[in-house]
C-alpha cells in the first residue's frame, strides 16, 4: 500500500493528553472526537487536516495515557501514517492493534519539514520527501506484528 500527503510536524514527547484531551473522553465516537484531535498542541489541526496527510514527530510520540482514543482519533482524522523518531510503547501497540500505520525512522523524522509532501510505500518501507527529493528507508516490522497488521488488527487476528 502507498500513501501520500502533507506533513504536520511536531516535536518530542507529544503526549496523549494533547492528542485527545481527557475532557472529551466521555465521547466514544471516534469521528466526533476527531474534531478535537491535537487540539491542545495545534488548535488548527482538525480544520486543516485532509485525508492522506502525515504526522511527523520526534521522540516518544504518544507518551502518557493508554487511551486508544489517541491513535483512533488520529486515524479518524484521515491521517494515513505517523512517522516518528520513537513511539511510547502503549501508543505503539495500540496503533498496531487498531491499524494506524506508524513508522519509526529517525532520519525521516529529523529531515522532513512542516508542509512537505511525503509519500510512503509500506511494502518497501520507503519514505520519500517529494518536496526535497530525499529518500528514507525504514526497518520492516517483525513478522509477528506484520501478521497482526495484515489481518486488519488484533481482534481479527485472534478470531
Amino acid at each position: 500500500m502507498k500513501v501520500k500527503g502533507t506533513v504536520f510536524k511536531y516535536g518530542d514527547n507529544v503526549d496523549t493528553d494533547v492528542i485527545i484531551p481527557a475532557r472529551y473522553l466521555n465521547i466514544t465516537d471516534m469521528n466526533k472526537l476527531a474534531e478535537h484531535c491535537m487540539e491542545d498542541i495545534d488548535a488548527q489541526f482538525s480544520k486543516k487536516v485532509q485525508a492522506g496527510d502525515i504526522i511527523v514527530a520526534g521522540n516518544n510520540f504518544g507518551c502518557g495515557s493508554s487511551r486508544e482514543h489517541a491513535p483512533a482519533t488520529i486515524k479518524a482524522s484521515g491521517v494515513s501514517c505517523v512517522i516518528a523518531n520513537s513511539f511510547a510503547r502503549i501508543f505503539y501497540r495500540n496503533s498496531i492493534n487498531i491499524g494506524l500505520a506508524i513508522i519509526e525512522c529517525p532520519e525521516a523524522a529529523a529531515a522532513i519539514r512542516q508542509g512537505d509532501q511525503v509519500s510512503v510505500d509500506f511494502a518497501k518501507g520507503q519514505i520519500v520527501d517529494e518536496t526535497t527529493g530525499a529518500h528514507f528507508q525504514a526497518e520492516p516490522f517483525p513478522a509477528f506484528l506484520q501478521e497482526i497488521i495484515d489481518k486488519g488488527g488484533l481482534l481479527n487476528s485472534i478470531k
Binding site: N26, C63, N94
Partner: protein, 425 residues
C-alpha cells in the same frame, strides 16, 4: 543466560522455560482491567468482533472511577454501557458508587492482584501492581477486548534497568520523592519499552504505599512496568488480602540489565516536578517563589492511607492559605473510612480543605477540581502535561502529600520543614 523478574513471569505465562529480551510472545493473563473511559471502547470492539463470551468472568474487572460520580450525561452513558455489559456477562468484579475506588488503589487493597501474576489494564497506570512483584502493564481498549475474550495478550519481552536501593528515607521524604528523582535522572523516555526493577537492602525501609506509588509512575519514565523484589513486607501485605496460591519470582543472579543505578535513599530530598513533564524535577528547596491556587492530594499515585496521614500530619492545627483550594481525595471507600475513623477528616476540615469521594476526577482534568487559565496547582498526581488538569494555560506541579500539604498552608510551593515545629503540627 539469566532472566529478570519480569522475564521469568512472562516465560511462565507463555509456557516457556526461558525468554529473551526483544522476543514477541503471547502469554496467559491472570486479570484484565478497564475503567469507565476505556471499557466502553473495549466493549464496542468486543461486540464488533462478534465475541459472545468472556475467558473468565472472575478475571475481568470494571472500575467506574474516572468521571464518577457521573459528571455529565455522556459520562453516565459510559457507565451504563459498562454496567449493562457487566450484568449480561455476570462479571464478578464490577465497582461503582459505594464500593468504587481509584482502580490502582482498589485492586491491591481488595486482593485482586498477587505476586507473579500478569495483569493488563486499559489504563496506563496499571503498572502499579509491580509493587507486589506482579508483571502488570497498561494497554489499550482493543488489547482489553482481546484479553476479555481470549485471556491472552501479546508482548515484546522487555529488557530491564535495575535500581539498587540502599539506606533509609529522611523524615517527610516518601516513595513519591524517590520516583520523581529517578524520572528526573533518566527522563520521560529513559525506560521506554523496559522494566524498572527495584531491589536492594533499602527496600526494607519502603512501605507498600511507597512502593505502589513508585511502581505507579514507571510509565512516566516510559517504562513497560515497574517491579519490586518480593520481601517480608510484600508477603505480609498480600497475606492479609489474597487467599489463592501465587508464585514469587526472583531475578537470576546472572540476569542481564541495560543499566544499573544505585540509589541512596538517605540522599533523596523532597522533590517537585515542574510543568509540563514529570522529568522537570528539582528539590523543593530550589523551587523558588511559586504561588499556587490549588492543591490536590489523592489519585492512584498518592491517595492511600499513608498519604492521608502524611498530609494530616502537616495540616494538623494549621490553615490552608487564603485563596488556595485544597482538595483531599481518599482513593477508596476503605481508605476513606480509615481516614475518617482516625480523625484525619477533622484535621482536613479544620484546615479548610474539601474532601471528595474517591475518583480520578481532577488528575486527568475530568471534574472535581479543574484549573482556570493561568492557575497553578500542586498535585500528588502523576502527570503535569499541558492542559492535564484543565485549561491549556494552567500548570501542574507534581509532589508528595507532605509537600502538597505544606504548599497548601504556605500558598506557594513549600516543604514541611519550612513550617513552624518542623511541620509536626
Amino acid at each position: 543466560m539469566g532472566m529478570t523478574m519480569t522475564q521469568k513471569i512472562i516465560a511462565a505465562h507463555g509456557g516457556r522455560d526461558s525468554v529473551k529480551a526483544g522476543e514477541l510472545i503471547r502469554v496467559d493473563l491472570d486479570l484484565v482491567l478497564g475503567n469507565d473511559v476505556t471499557s466502553p471502547v473495549a466493549i464496542n470492539e468486543f461486540e464488533k468482533a462478534g465475541f459472545t463470551k468472556l475467558f473468565d468472568k472472575d478475571k475481568v474487572v470494571f472500575v467506574m472511577d474516572h468521571f464518577t460520580p457521573n459528571k455529565d450525561i455522556n459520562s453516565a452513558m459510559l457507565c451504563k454501557r459498562a454496567r449493562d455489559f457487566a450484568r449480561k456477562y455476570a462479571i464478578t468484579h464490577y465497582y461503582e458508587s459505594g464500593n468504587v475506588g481509584v482502580e490502582h488503589a482498589l485492586l491491591p487493597e481488595q486482593g485482586l492482584v498477587a505476586p507473579g501474576e500478569i495483569i493488563i489494564g486499559a489504563d496506563s497506570h496499571t503498572c502499579t501492581y509491580g509493587a507486589l512483584g506482579a508483571y502488570s502493564t497498561g494497554v489499550g481498549s482493543t488489547d482489553m477486548a482481546a484479553g476479555m475474550y481470549s485471556g491472552q495478550a501479546w508482548f515484546k519481552v522487555p529488557s530491564a534497568i535495575k535500581f539498587v536501593l540502599k539506606g533509609k528515607l529522611q523524615p517527610f521524604v516518601s516513595g513519591k520523592d524517590v520516583i520523581l528523582t529517578i524520572i528526573g535522572m533518566i527522563g520521560v523516555e529513559g525506560a521506554r519499552y523496559k522494566s524498572m526493577e527495584f531491589t536492594g537492602e533499602g527496600l526494607s525501609s519502603l512501605s507498600m504505599d511507597d512502593r505502589l506509588c513508585m511502581a505507579n509512575m514507571a510509565i512516566e519514565a516510559g517504562g513497560k512496568n515497574g517491579i519490586f523484589e518480593v520481601d517480608d513486607i510484600t508477603l505480609a501485605y498480600v497475606k492479609e488480602r489474597v487467599s489463592r496460591p501465587f508464585t514469587v519470582y526472583k531475578a537470576d543472579e546472572d540476569a542481564q540489565y541495560d543499566e544499573v543505578y544505585e540509589i541512596d535513599l538517605s540522599q533523596i530530598q523532597p522533590t517537585v516536578a515542574f510543568p509540563h513533564l514529570p522529568e522537570n524535577t528539582r528539590p523543593v528547596s530550589q523551587a523558588g517563589e511559586v504561588p499556587i491556587d490549588q492543591v490536590v492530594i489523592g489519585s492512584c499515585t498518592n491517595g492511600r492511607l499513608e498519604d492521608m496521614r502524611a498530609a494530616a500530619a502537616v495540616l494538623k492545627g494549621r490553615k490552608v492559605a487564603a485563596g488556595v483550594r485544597c482538595i483531599i481525595i481518599p482513593a477508596t471507600p476503605l481508605i476513606y473510612r480509615q481516614s475518617m475513623d482516625e480523625g484525619l477528616f477533622d484535621i482536613f476540615m479544620e484546615a479548610g480543605c474539601v474532601i471528595s469521594p474517591p475518583t480520578c476526577g481532577p488528575c486527568l482534568g475530568g471534574h472535581m477540581g479543574i484549573l482556570a487559565e493561568g492557575e497553578r496547582a500542586v498535585a500528588t498526581t502523576n502527570r503535569n502535561f499541558v492542559g492535564r488538569m484543565g485549561h491549556t494555560g494552567s500548570e501542574v506541579y507534581l509532589a508528595s502529600p507532605a509537600v502538597a500539604a505544606a504548599s497548601a498552608v504556605c500558598g506557594r510551593i513549600a516543604q514541611p520543614d519550612e513550617l513552624d515545629n518542623g511541620g509536626r503540627g
